[in-house]
Assembly symmetry: C2
Homo-oligomer: 148 residues x 2
């Protein structure tokens, strides 16, 4: 399984674990520059896969996901705990995706960074980058994968 397929599978399964119904919708090839979402969770990959993965949510979608992770607690604002939960989600999703690659090669993840703002642009390095769009209930979120 390649990294893209394993991320799609891992994210779908993880969201399902939290009672969230998500599915992969489409892939958009955008090369190196992306418009950021309101909430972006970045994780770097090193060793045998070098790159970055960025999960992007609208604030409302992020709140919905965090609420599901916290057993339905209403999320009024994206405080530190809420952002940490999103970081942990990304960590779990990528950890699971790497397991699915079923390789003995070492692939390491950097700790997540959560970037919140409006109208931001994200520039990734690497030769091979893509944006995966997922449906989540009536909403969407996306995952940028950039591999060197």
């Amino acid at each position: 399984m390649d990294l893209k397929s394993s991320i799609i599978e891992a994210v779908t399964e993880l969201f399902q674990m939290f009672g969230l119904n998500s599915y992969f919708k489409e892939e958009i090839y955008e090369k190196h520059q992306f418009i950021g979402e309101q909430v972006n969770v970045l994780i770097g990959l090193t060793e045998n896969i070098k790159g970055n993965v960025i999960i992007g949510f609208k604030k409302s979608t992020a709140s919905q996901v965090i609420s599901a992770m916290m057993g339905g607690t209403e999320i009024k604002e994206l405080d530190f705990m809420a952002k940490s939960a999103l970081g942990e989600l990304a960590n779990m999703a990528l950890g699971s995706a790497i397991m699915k690659l079923n390789t003995e090669k070492v692939i390491s993840l950097s700790p997540p960074t959560v970037v919140v703002g409006e109208d931001m642009s994200l520039t990734v390095s690497g030769n091979n980058s893509t944006k995966l769009i997922f449906n989540l209930n009536d909403d969407i979120f996306n995952i940028i994968i950039a591999i060197d």
Copy 2:
């Protein structure tokens, strides 16, 4: 030498190589949440040091640095090439800082991601995070170091 001291030394030397006169000014302890600058370059660290380093510039300062890297070429806008140069700068600075640690332990760097925008907030994980402020001519830039 610890990571903080080695980053300060590496950045100062690197900027000097490009004819830029920078010096470390002060350290601000801000725990896990930081106000982003207009231009932020993120690099993740894995293996024996897990964390993230974020170099933050105002757009005008970033342009000044890129111009110096490109032998004085005037930078009118932060296009892909300009942002790639900043990513490469961060890569060089951290590579050099890790050499200065003089350890045989493996420390890996993820490829840089450049995030440009206004009024963004950055949330890092880890128990130990700090912001280093540097002077650069009449301006300042900063480096956030967050270690798990």
